[in-house]
């Protein structure tokens, strides 16, 4: 396998323009002859399907939800970055590019990241024109805020529902194309296999989630915008349905998987309350602006009421350990320190599986200083949400928070055109590994999804189609198609007929999530990862032996859907651990206990300044590693220091 990034050369600010100028096009009247498949209807998929439909291609868009409007992009709260410099505070495309590269701890491709920063401004224009109700100032112009420790105010927002509003903008554009007949929408339909013919992606096998019917869809190119794989942890801030099946099926067909171990853990989520917990809820990071993080100093205080613990017995560990940044240290540092104090037995809240996993986020001082009204004004909706979920009033008693998996920077390896290692197979949004390196800045996920969907894919797909010209037709009964259908049938059959059915898929998913969370989570060790690599295959075997799926394949069967997704998470989880073990350095969100300098992550640029792209070998325990070296011409790698 050869990894060719196909990056243009020349001055970085000219690369995208030059690339566009010298790429192939498809003439408007020819576009109708091309069939395209888009998997996923979130920011990347919805935007891509709509934009490709507008161009005149014949597009089929698939989502497992009952409506394209429900894709999990909808849950993003904070905002979207764009280098508009409306605040006159010195922002620029270069600065956004620089911050993104640095935030990614020098593990992303410069050309892609520059393009992302460059396109950020177009996204805002597009969204505003669609009627996205961004926050405004009294003069009628767009408002901005500073987000995630950025030194400029470049984040655009729509209350705490920016993701929702941007998604609905894309959904409305998509709806317009559905009405126009250029896009056919397939809701409640799941992609279960990729059809590869003559070395190129030519279609998919889907299952209609209502009738269970398997169908094939043949196309000239397939675009995967199916989101991230955070649910490998079982508990995450992802939606329950978020899954890796589309990208994992593609990986098994030959698409390289890049940097699977780069998973972002968000520090301010509501802790787990019991073993039955089905998901974790994120609360905006902005809470750390006014809240103080602490745990009891003494183990015997952990089950006391926080009000009863005197000031001298409170351990404000972030303020003590990081006097310069205090409670505002970056996400990964805040997360890791919460893990450490809980591992030391100082965690608070209910015991789940024998351990208290929670730390206090206390607003008492802020309320005293600013008054309850100011705090209510700033965080009222978050406090309400917290109370709804926990039944505790954060105005009176400190919140309890704990980190949770939030976003996955890893994903399918793509070149500058967002094409995977399978020709004709593209990946956009969180499904690809592209722009965030080892860590993602706050308010950049929406930006990347929309940049890929609105502005990159519609163009690079044209380049691909213009290059391959018209592909020969592929009949539904071609052996390559039939083989893919047979593989799906066999898999469904296997899931429905385990030899010794005992447990629901969730049972195994929870166990898998437990292994990954403890051994491939916020702080990873060689021993832990090695253990995980041993344990996962055993659990996977047990899964295939004992998974119990009632009902049949020919009906709406949510248990069957989940079982298939869990099966793929087993293989992906394995790869994550292998990748994490292989990357013997700490960078961004990937923190290896063995590789630190004075308690800070120690990057090893000499040996690991590369993208790890894994090729499926047929054996989930022995993938093949390929490396794409990263070069930094415009930003010199530096080391972070928050002390």
């Amino acid at each position: 396998m050869e990894l060719r990034s196909n990056e243009p050369s020349g001055p970085i600010e000219q690369r995208w323009t030059e690339h566009k100028a010298h790429s192939k096009l498809v003439a408007p009247n020819n576009r109708r002859a091309y069939n395209l498949i888009v998997i996923g209807s979130g920011l990347a998929g919805g935007a891509a399907a709509a934009s490709l439909g507008e161009l005149g291609y014949r597009v089929k868009c698939f989502c497992f939800q009952d409506s394209p409007r429900r894709a999990h992009s909808i849950a993003a709260q904070g905002g979207i970055n764009a280098a508009k410099n409306y605040k006159n505070d010195g922002d620029s495309v270069f600065r956004l590019f620089y911050d993104t590269i640095k935030g990614g701890d020098f593990r992303s491709r410069e050309s892609n990241t520059w393009r992302l920063a460059e396109l950020s401004v177009n996204i805002i224009d597009q969204a505003v024109a669609q009627g996205v109700p961004f926050a405004r100032e009294y003069g009628g112009l767009l408002a901005n805020r500073s987000f995630g420790g950025a030194q400029v105010s470049r984040t655009f927002y729509a209350r705490g529902q920016t993701g929702q509003q941007l998604l609905l903008g894309a959904y409305q554009a998509l709806s317009r194309q559905i009405e126009a007949g250029s896009v056919t929408m397939f809701p409640r339909t799941e992609m279960l296999e990729l059809i590869v013919h003559d070395g190129a992606a030519r279609g998919i096998v889907t299952r209609d989630l209502i009738t269970g019917k398997l169908d094939t869809h043949i196309a000239d190119a397939v675009i995967l915008c199916s989101g991230g794989y955070g649910n490998v942890f079982y508990l995450s801030t992802n939606a329950k349905g978020s899954n890796c099946t589309a990208i994992w099926r593609a990986h098994r067909q030959g698409a390289a998987f890049a940097n699977p171990c780069y998973t972002q853990i968000h520090p301010t989520c509501i802790p787990q309350a019991g073993t039955y917990q089905s998901k974790l809820t994120l609360m905006s990071e902005s809470l750390r602006n006014d809240g103080r993080v602490w745990v009891p100093r003494k183990k015997e205080d952990v089950d006391k009421r926080p009000e009863d613990i005197p000031a001298k017995d409170r351990y404000y560990y972030l303020e003590e350990r990081y006097p310069a940044f205090g409670n505002l240290v970056p996400r990964d540092v805040a997360s890791r320190n919460a893990l450490y104090v809980c591992n030391d037995g100082l965690g608070v809240g209910p015991e789940v599986d024998g351990q208290r996993r929670g730390v206090y986020l206390d607003f008492k001082d802020a309320i005293q200083r600013l008054g309850e009204d100011v705090i209510r004004d700033r965080y009222g909706n978050l406090f309400e949400m917290y109370e709804r979920i926990t039944g505790e009033n954060p105005y009176k008693t400190p919140m309890r928070i704990y980190p949770a998996t939030h976003y996955t920077m890893g994903g399918l390896w793509v070149d500058y055109n967002l094409q995977t290692t399978i020709p004709g197979l593209f990946a956009g949004g969180e499904a690809n590994f592209s722009d965030h390196g080892a860590n993602r800045l706050g308010a950049s996920a929406l930006m990347q999804g929309l940049a890929d969907g609105y502005f990159v894919l519609p163009f690079t797909i044209g380049n691909y189609l213009g290059t391959v010209r018209k592909l020969p037709p592929l009949a539904d009964d071609h052996p390559d198609v039939k083989r893919a259908v047979a593989a799906v049938e066999a898999r469904v059959d296997k899931l429905l007929n385990a030899p010794d059915p005992k447990h629901a898929p969730e049972y195994f998913h929870r166990k898998l999530g437990g292994i990954i969370w403890h051994k491939c989570g916020m702080a990873r060790t060689r021993e832990g990862l090695q253990e995980a690599i041993e344990e996962i295959p055993k659990l996977r075997e047990q899964f295939w032996r004992e998974v119990k799926v009632t009902g049949s394949g020919e009906e709406l069967n949510q248990t069957l859907e989940r079982a298939g997704r869990v099966a793929d998470f087993f293989e992906l989880g394995q790869l994550m651990c292998i990748d994490a073990l292989n990357r013997e350095e700490s960078c961004g969100c990937h923190f290896r206990e063995e590789y630190q300098r004075d308690g800070e992550a120690a990057r090893d640029d000499e040996h690991f300044q590369h993208v790890s792209a894994w090729e499926w070998s047929g054996d989930p325990e022995a993938p093949t590693l390929h490396k794409e070296p990263l070069e930094f011409e415009y930003v010199k790698p530096s080391t972070r220091n928050y002390k």
Binding site: D66, R70, Q126, K240, A273, P350, A504, Y507
Partner: protein
Amino acid sequence: MSDQLLNLTLHVWRQDGPTDNGHFETYQAKDITTHMSFLEMLDVINEDLIEDGKTPIAFDHDCREGICGACGMVINGRPHGPQRLTTTCQLHMRQFSDGDELWIEPWRASGFPIVRDLCVDRSAFDRIIQAGGYVSVNTGAAREANEIPVGKLDADLAMDAAACIGCGACVAACPNASAVLFTSAKIGQLAMLPHGQPERQDRVRKMVAQMDAEGFGSCTNHEECEAACPKGISVNWIGKMNRELIAAMATAKDEVEVRGK
């Protein structure tokens, strides 16, 4: 964090498919902690059903943080259950008491045919949006975002309407199964913004025609929709839509064609 355990009797609507008659089935939910969400309680029941070799209860859900709009069931006669401004996924068991008897039903409306058990087909909402709930602006054709100022108040009001999550609780709550709150929220949002003006008249006529074609009932101003809406969308948007429609019908320069009866 006082853990209280609840024992509840659930009567859950079970229906194999759109043509099946459906019936209530009774389940005992035992030792449910008050920290569980309502859907987690159903997860527990379902896991037990699967392990007993039975078919679990089908229900729609996804984000479980109250924003995707996938979940929704009528709990003891109230869409999304007893807590105001809360989706089913955000409803927690501390809202109930030990020994409670709960009737759990799907959204009932001919515009939302039942798919299975508590899952309904809300694609009618998608078709209403497809009829005109957008601004026709192709990717790349947009002008500079700050070129058209939008008054803060107008932007805020547009955001109020745009907060709709399309869950369908308004239809479920309406004695007439009317979809006017949903439809009016999108019409209202785009009518508040300068970017929505060129298609303003066309949009309201097409969306209203589609809403009617989907078989939803008419508004008789009970305002149950607003009370059930997890996002608190105001019925004032319905009045706004009526105003928009009357004005469009009275002054539009062209005619909107609809399918003859």
